[in-house]
Each structure stands twice: as C-alpha cells, then as structure tokens.
C-alpha cells in the first residue's frame, strides 16, 4: 500500500445541489407518469369514440308508415311469420311476391327474414339524419323537436347499432337492414382453416427446433428466418397469397379439384386462400410461442423419461408436449386473435366487400369482419360509419373473449414445476 503515501488526496469538494437533483427527479417522474397517462387516454378515447358512434337517434322516413301495416291492431314487431307474409302479399304486386318466393320459397324463410323483407320491400325506411350517442343524450329535446314525428312515415328512434338483428342479418347495401352475419361466418370459416393449417405445422416446427435440431448453421438460419418472418408486414403475405394461393393453386383453392363448382366462386379468391394466407402469417408467431412453452419444460422431466429407456418421440409425446400444451395453446390463441383482426392481406387476395350470401364451404366467396369494417368505414355516409362502429364492437368482443381465454389458460396452468 506504499503507493498511497506518494499521492496527495485531490481536492474533495462536492457542490452537491440536492434541491436541483431532487427537483429534476420529480419533474421527470411527472413526465414518465404523463406518458403513461397519455397512453391510457388514447385507449379510452379510442373506445369512447367507437361507443359514441355505435348508438344514437336516427331519423327515418318510411315510404309506408309501419303503423298502417298493423294486422288486427298488432304492430309489425309482434306479428307472426304468416301475418308478415300477408302484409307482403297485400302491399306487393303479385309478380314481385312470386319472384321472392321463387328466389327462396317462403316456407324455407324464417320469421326474421320475412320481417326484414317487409321493411326492405314495403316500409322502405330511409335514414334522413343520425346523431351521435353523446348528442343524443345531451340534446335529446332539441333532436326530438327538430323531427316532425307527427307526420306519417317520419320516425325518430334511438338505435343501438350493435343489436341482435345486426348479428343476425346478412350484409345489405341498405344501412337499415345491414348485418354482420355473413362477415362473422366468413371470419369463422377463415380462421378455422388458419388454425387447421398453422397449428400442427407450427407445433411440429417448434418441436423440431427445440428437441431435434442440432445447433448447426442450417438450424440457426431457420431460427433467424422465423424471427424475420414474424416481422414481415402482413400486406406482403397478402401479395404472396395472391400469387400462390389465388393464382397458382387456383384449382385447389377454388375447389374445382374436388369437383365443387360454386358459381359464386371467383377464381380462387376463396375462404381457402384467405385461411392459408393467414396461416402463413401466424405460423412464425405460433412457432415462437410454442418454442418458448417447450423450452419451459424442465430438462429433468426429459431425463426421467430417457432414463427408463423411452425413445425421443415417446419422451416428447408423453412428457414434453402435455406439459407445454397450456403455453402452446395460449400462444396459439394470441396468434389467432391477430389473424382475426387482419385486414390488409385479405384485401389484397381479394376478399369480396359486397356479398349477400353466407359462405357454405371453404371454397366460397367470403367477407370477414375487418373487411366489412373497412368497407363501411370508407363510405362517406354517417350511417355506415355507425355500422362500422357496431361491427368494431362485435370484433373487439370476439377478441376480448379470446384474450380472456388465453389469460385464463396462462394463469390456470402456469408454473407447476
């Protein structure tokens, strides 16, 4: 320690300005807090904005006042299917009535459809004006005063756009009668194809990478490649899907390979193409999530299995997979909820924006919820914006349910070692 003796201690002077240090500490803390608050405000505003547009007063003008269509004093809403049919018969020319019957026999239509027909063909509501939820609540008196409801055919209703009929009805170009059933069914079909294709492939790839693959250059490339694919913009997958599934594999994706000749099928722009495109999109996510779940299974479990002479696959199948499954499922659900909300790739592969028929098989033309939202959002009229808001609420409800399931799975099964 002799070296200390030949050194003079330097001037030890601290001008410690604690007030300043603590002050700047407090200021920055406020800044950090504020950014968090801004994030939360953004989320709340986003939701409120949607809610604000999803309900409110609507001023309708009817060609025929529904009040005049009472049968024995019973209003339309409470009439039976037969009564509604008679209303149709009385108000339409027999030619028009018979044409409806030819399109789809009345015997096959349920009450809801006939009810919608009455409004579509006889009442013919037109939306004159709409109000936001906020205005409807705060200015209800002015709104009521501004609409001459005593006039025949003029009606003012408080409409919650995301209602039961909205879920039940097919797509329609008339905002009064438009619904999301076609879109929901399209989304469900598409996502089923996606899961069927991506889940087994993704889990197997994860098993390969975690349990089988040696640490050599080719497998490192695969890993890097998967990470890169996860970052590729979704629209690129759309372009790929357009080139491969819609165009090259058209005989398969349009179903002609299986002898299905659906006249509505537009050359490969089908549920099958959409489902497979989304499968490519979520595959890297499923692989990465499954890898993590598999990695979390302790090595001691594998050793125990190998120790009694099990083969590799026996070990994987009976020990690794069952223990990793909750994690794999959680990851898959999260990936799938990403796919459900995807719009861009489906626009590119040519999802139909206007389609009036429910999809019936994987080779049908289709639309999905996000596509429907996109289409309605792009329309200039307010009432379509409101429909878009209603469809967004449906979409968010579906996603919330899925996410809640994922979180439930994660909490229910997490940490058992």
């Amino acid at each position: 320690m002799s070296e200390l003796n030949n050194t003079q201690p330097p001037q030890m002077e601290f001008s410690d300005d604690l007030r300043r240090r603590n002050l700047s500490g407090r200021i920055w803390m406020v800044v950090f807090r504020l950014s968090t608050v801004v994030g939360i405000i953004a989320l709340v505003t986003l939701l409120l904005n949607i809610i604000n547009q999803s309900a409110g007063y609507v001023h309708y003008e009817a060609k025929v006042d529904p009040d005049t269509l009472r049968v024995d004093g019973i209003p339309l809403e409470e009439q039976s299917k037969e009564q509604l049919m008679s209303v149709l018969q009385n108000n339409l020319s027999s030619g028009a009535y018979n044409k409806l019957d030819r399109d789809k026999p009345f015997a096959e239509r349920d009450r809801g459809e006939v009810y919608d027909l009455v409004f579509d063909r006889v009442v013919k509501y037109k939306v004159e004006e709409t109000w936001l939820l906020w205005d409807s609540l705060t200015h209800s008196r002015e709104i009521k005063a501004s609409v001459p409801t005593e006039q025949s055919g003029t009606e003012l209703k408080f409409v919650v756009w995301a209602n039961w009929d909205f879920l039940r009805r097919q797509q329609s170009s008339d905002p009064v009668l438009a619904g999301v059933r076609t879109a929901i069914l399209g989304s469900l079909w598409t996502i089923s194809i996606t899961i069927l294709a991506a889940f087994p492939l993704g889990v197997m790839a994860a098993i390969y990478l975690e349990e089988y693959a040696a640490d050599n250059w080719i497998n490192r490339i695969i890993r890097t490649n998967i990470n890169n694919l996860a970052g590729v913009p979704s629209i690129i997958y759309g372009i790929l899907g357009l080139a491969i599934f819609v165009r090259v594999l058209e005989p398969f994706t349009s179903g002609t390979l299986f002898g299905i000749t659906d006249p509505t099928t537009a050359n490969g722009r089908t549920i099958m193409s959409a489902g497979l495109t989304l499968a490519l999109l979520v595959l890297p996510l499923i692989i990465i999530n499954s890898q993590e779940a598999i990695r979390a299974v302790p090595g001691s479990l594998r050793n125990a299995s190998y120790g009694i002479g099990a083969t590799k696959w026996q070990t994987v199948w009976s020990h690794v997979l069952p223990n990793a499954m909750p994690g794999i499922l959680t990851g898959t659900i999260l990936a799938v909820s990403r796919a459900i909300g995807e719009t861009a790739p489906l626009v590119v592969i040519g999802a139909s924006t206007v389609i009036f028929f429910d999809p019936e098989n994987p080779f049908s033309k289709f639309t999905t919820l996000p596509i429907q939202i996109y289409q309605w959002t792009s329309r200039p009229q307010d009432e379509f914006r409101f429909l878009a808001a209603a469809a967004i609420i449906v979409l968010l409800a579906i996603l919330l349910t899925l996410n809640a399931t994922a979180i439930f799975l994660r909490n229910r099964f997490s940490r058992r070692y």
């Binding site: 320690m1 330097p10 001037q11 030890m12 002077e13 001008s15 410690d16 240090r21």
Partner: protein, 266 residues
C-alpha cells in the same frame, strides 16, 4: 451483550442501532438489535446464513427500502442523527454511507466512467482525472489498470472488479463503507488483497462488513456482532452478542456464540 453507552457520548459512535426491527411486509426479518459502530474501526457482522446479516447491513444506508414494503421500527443513528427521520434524504444517506456488494457489480462502462459517475452526480468540483487516480490508488488497483482506463469495467477479473467497486464507493468520499460479503465471490488471493485493503482504508473510513467467513472476521475486524435466529422456530434474526472481536473469539459470553465460532454450530 454490550449495552449501548450513555447517550451523551453519541458522537463517539458513527452508527448506533437501537431496538431495531426490520420488516418485509408483515414478516419480521430482524428483531431487537442493539449495536454501535466505532469510528475508524472495522465492525464485522457474522452468523449463519439466513439470519438477516445483509438485511441489517442494508438498513444502515437505507438500501432496504428499494425492496417494496420493507420497513423498520426502532432507531438507527448516524452521528447522532436519526437516519429514518422523515426529513432525511436517502440519497444523501447513501452518499455518506457507501456500499460494496457481494458480487462485483461494475457498471457496463469504462473503468474511468465507473469511478467518475458517482462523483459527477454529486457535483464533484475538482479534477476528475485526479479523483479517478486517487480512488484507484486507494483501492490498490491503479497499477493494474492505469493503462486501460477506457476499457470496460466488465473486462477485469473478479477480484479487480470488486476493488473497482470499492474505488467507485471511495470516489464519492463516504464516511462509512458497508461491505456485504465483499470477498465471497473471490479466490483466496483476491480475498487477501481485499482484507489488506480494509486495514489500509480504516485509517480514513469506518467499515462495517458482513461475512460468513469466521477467519476473515477474526483476522480483519476490531468488533464483531454475532447474529442468530432469535429463537428456535422463529425466523427473525438478532444480534446475540456484540463485543470486541478478540473477546468474541476467545471468550464469548453466549454459549451459542461459542458453539458457532468453535465450529460446533448446527
């Protein structure tokens, strides 16, 4: 057990713990501690693992409160002032009572920056180069690193890293240095260097060291606090005996201390 001296003499002690209890939430980790730390001496805290030695040490410069919902009861006086009084700034406490940790934890910065950082945040006025050299010399590290001050602190060996951490603590001129098993991650030669260094440093500083190495305590310290779980079945640690080191190791008053220092414990 040595009782604290009368209050009038409190400037004599640098640190005094009185009736100290430390809690994590509702769990009482340390109970009923009385001990005094004398200026320019080395005070060792020994005892079996899990008896709260580190917890007690960290209470001396309020590092404990970085763990959420930890709290203390009783008093710790630093030169007669209550460390936990509401008007005391923990930042100042840690400036004046520095700490060296169990595992060397240099910042991922250059050796030079490791030393300069603390001085800079406290508004050091003098020449930084001088301070860096002086601190490194004090920590007996200067000759080994003077040619590579711009290298990362992480590039040093474990023992050098720990001396770098000591130099870093010295650079802000604390009055007390708390050392939490500073040599436990080091090899015997590096350990010896640290012990020599402590002897050198106590001329200017007061040192409190936690160690589970009894030889180290016996060799290096002037006073020793013996900690144990207070009672069988309870999980709170306490200081069962506090005395000059030579008494603790040659003539302990408490039977448990005797068992422990002679190796008959547990």
């Amino acid at each position: 057990m040595v009782q604290p001296q009368s209050k009038t003499e409190n400037s004599h002690y640098v640190l005094e713990a009185k009736n100290l209890e430390i809690y994590y939430g509702s769990f009482k980790a340390v109970t009923d501690v009385h001990m005094n730390v004398e200026r320019n001496k080395i005070t060792a805290i020994i005892g079996p693992s899990g008896c709260g030695k580190s917890t007690l040490l960290r209470a001396f410069n309020r590092m404990n409160e970085l763990v959420s919902d930890s709290s203390i009861r009783g008093e710790i006086l630093f030169q007669g002032q209550d460390l936990y009084a509401s008007n005391v700034d923990p930042v100042v406490v840690r400036h004046r009572i520095g700490m060296v940790f169990q595992k060397p934890n240099p910042f991922p910065k250059s050796i030079y920056e490791n030393i300069a950082w603390g001085a800079r945040i406290h508004g050091y006025k003098g020449k930084m180069d001088e301070l860096v050299e002086y601190s490194l010399r004090q920590a007996a590290l200067w000759d080994e690193v003077k040619d590579k001050l711009n290298q990362s602190g992480l590039a040093l060996s474990g023992g050098q890293q720990q001396r770098l951490c000591i130099a870093r603590a010295l650079a802000v001129q604390p009055e007390v240095i708390l050392m939490d098993e500073p040599a436990s991650a080091l090899d015997p030669i590096a350990t010896l260097k640290i012990e020599e260094l402590m002897q050198e440093l106590k001329k200017n500083y007061t040192i409190v060291i936690v160690t589970h190495n009894m030889q180290q305590a016996a060799r290096a310290s002037d006073y020793t606090a013996m900690m144990m779980l207070s009672k069988d079945g309870e999980r709170s640690g306490t200081v069962i005996e506090f005395d000059e080191t030579k008494h603790i190791f040659t003539n302990p008053k408490d039977k448990r201390t005797e068992d422990y220092v002679t190796g008959r414990f547990g």
